[in-house]
């Protein structure tokens, strides 16, 4: 019942974007994919979604993700893209209902079961007061909840999120991740998300996968993956790790010191924790 990738590779336009990436996630876990820009985080998600051609093995709940059909895949995984397209005139109810699409046959109509699932998702995300409002009239936070509601109504055991915190302020970042966390506990979802914020990754993810130029640099528990030395090497950033109860609670970037005599700013010499 796990999501597993074995030597997954993706080549685009002759360039190798992902090189023999292997990972594993237990059911109900939250896997965070981290790494600098261009490391291949989004490509990995696209490979899971079947949007790019990949070699190697990719399985979820013992199903081979390379051979299942589009609708089957949509019933297994729901995706929240980084910049979802919100049709401005569509109502919240109609938008969330779109999540039921994989469960409806090509020429079919929504059944009562579909309406039920949608209703339930909207209750979970507290959208019941906004049913008939067009998407363009919602606030940023309400739009986030609508997008999540659509993913939830899809009733898929795997939830994929591409950079869910980009362009959100600190309060919205917290509420989105908090919602995802609550939903996965309530519904026993497996979550895979790419994150650029290492602190949030440390706080919410059960497991991390650190990518560096298309290859796996480290994988495992946040405590094991988040090391100042490897972050300095891979990200080129000097950081200090905060721990609490033996778990990483924060990744704090150092302020760089500059003086007239030096050409490039250097970090203060602080011993690693």
């Amino acid at each position: 019942m796990t999501l597993a990738g074995d030597r997954l590779s993706v080549t685009l336009d002759g360039r190798e974007i992902l090189n023999a990436v292997s990972f594993e996630t237990a059911p109900g876990e939250w896997l965070g994919i981290i790494g600098p820009n261009g490391a291949g985080k989004t490509t990995l998600l696209r490979a899971l979604l079947g949007q790019v051609v990949s070699t190697g093995k990719l399985t979820f709940q013992a199903r081979d993700l390379h051979t299942i059909g589009r609708r089957e895949r949509a019933k297994l995984m729901a995706s929240v893209p980084q910049r979802p397209l919100l049709p401005p005139a569509m109502t919240v109810a109609d938008y969330v209902l779109l999540g039921r699409t994989p469960h409806i046959s090509y020429l079919g109509k929504e059944t009562y079961a579909d309406l039920s699932a949608t209703r339930e998702a909207m209750v979970a995300l507290e959208l019941t007061d906004h049913l008939q409002r067009p998407l363009s009239s919602l606030s940023g936070g309400e739009q986030q909840r609508a997008i999540l509601a659509r993913a939830i109504s899809q009733d898929a055991p795997l939830l994929l999120l591409d950079e869910p915190t980009t362009a959100l302020d600190i309060g919205h970042q917290q509420s989105v991740l908090g919602l995802v966390d609550m939903l996965r506990r309530e519904r026993d979802l497996t979550v895979v998300s790419s994150l650029h914020d290492l602190t949030l990754a440390a706080q919410y993810c059960d497991r991390l996968l650190l990518l560096d130029r298309g290859a796996v640099a480290a994988s495992g528990l946040p405590t094991d993956v988040l090391q100042a030395e490897s972050i300095a090497r891979i990200y080129g950033a000097e950081v200090r790790l905060l721990t609490e109860d033996g778990k990483v609670a924060g990744v704090v970037p150092q302020r760089l010191v500059t003086s007239p005599a030096m050409e490039t700013p250097t970090p203060p010499s602080v011993s690693a924790p």
């Binding site: 995706s79 893209p81 397209l85 569509m90 109810a93 109609d94 779109l98 999540g99």
Partner: protein, 338 residues
């Protein structure tokens, strides 16, 4: 509590009823009015008399009856078919390309039909004009698809670009043929401006295509709503986007090609009607498509009535009348957005 009645995408019976009413009114006006000035009560009586089992007295002469049943009635019927088709196909194209300014002529249908018709006129095969226009229109879209697939991905933008290229090329070819056969210039030009009406034959010719086209399009109304979130998200929801696009475009092209074959290139209907319908009943294709059929039919019947009565006994080409509606329509649209 949320009930199923609150879903907004359903087609409200009120809008449907309004559409039927408007169409009926337009059809009645189209049959009752015209340059021949038939007395309206007699027209009504004659219409009732033609219904099986009804026997009413009327005083129309044989010639007037001919005008009514051989000219006006088929013209209204053809107008309704053509208008409904152009409108619903326009709405369908707008759905698959997610662009409100797209109409059936985008992928080269108009240019292909024009070229086919011009060649038919130039080779004096006048009877073959509808077939040539149909073949030209369909071939143009096939060409567009082939080019869009080969040189681009199957994304909507690539198809639109390919369509622009194909249309430009075919229009140039048509102009060339026209110039080489300058004696036919006027007849080609008047075909291009659009004309309704060579009797029941045209209606019989076009009916099967428009019915098939409309049915296929209507069957896809739910999927067109899903396409609104863009190709990648629709794919991730399990929709075979490229296949849906191909089927809907094929059906819309079939209907448009048939309409163009019998009535020439009547513009603006495919944009004006779906837009107006959306203002009335919301953006969902579950209401836009069926309402476009009704209001498109009514619109065409009404504009045809204007075309043959405004400067009677002379006649305006119907493409000119729809263009007259088109410009103010777009201005109004601009005002709304501003």
């Amino acid at each position: 509590m949320i009930t199923t009645g609150s879903w907004s995408r359903a087609l409200r019976p009120r809008s449907l009823g309004l559409g039927v009413l408007v169409l009926a009114a337009a059809a009645l006006a189209g049959v009752a009015l015209g340059p021949a000035r038939l007395p309206i009560p007699e027209v009504m009586a004659a219409l009732f008399d033609s219904l099986p089992g009804v026997d009413t007295h009327h005083s129309l002469t044989a010639r007037q009856l001919d005008i009514l049943f051989e000219l006006r009635l088929p013209r209204v019927a053809l107008g309704a078919c053509v208008g409904a088709t152009l409108a619903v196909c326009g709405a369908a194209y707008q759905g698959v390309f997610r662009n409100p300014l797209v109409d059936p002529y985008l992928l080269g249908v108009a240019a292909g039909a024009g070229l086919g018709a011009t060649i038919a006129f130039a080779t004096a095969a006048v009877a073959a004009v509808p077939v040539a226009a149909f073949v030209g229109a369909s071939a143009a879209v096939v060409l567009t698809y082939a080019i869009g697939n080969r040189f681009g991905d199957r994304a909507p933008t690539s198809l639109v670009l390919a369509g622009v290229a194909v249309a430009s090329f075919l229009t140039a070819a048509q102009t060339y043929v026209q110039q080489r056969n300058s004696g036919d210039l006027r007849v080609v030009y008047s075909w291009i401006l659009g004309r309704l009406g060579a009797g029941w034959d045209d209606v019989r010719l076009v009916l099967p295509y428009v019915v098939v086209s409309a049915i296929v399009i209507l069957l896809h109304r739910r999927l067109l709503d899903v396409l609104a979130v863009g190709d990648p998200e629709a794919q991730s929801l399990g929709v075979p986007v490229a296949r849906v696009r191909l089927l809907v475009v094929m059906a819309a092209t079939l209907g448009t090609a048939a309409a163009v074959a019998v009535s020439g290139l009547i513009g603006f209907v495919g944009i004006i009607v779906p837009h107006t319908v959306r203002l009335l009943a919301g953006p969902s294709y579950r209401s836009t498509l069926p309402l476009s059929i009704l209001f498109g039919a009514a619109f065409m019947v009404a504009t045809d009535l204007a075309a043959r009565t405004l400067i009677a006994p002379a006649e305006l080409p119907i493409g000119v009348v729809t263009a007259f509606f088109g410009a103010p329509f777009f201005l109004a649209l601009l005002r709304r957005r501003g």
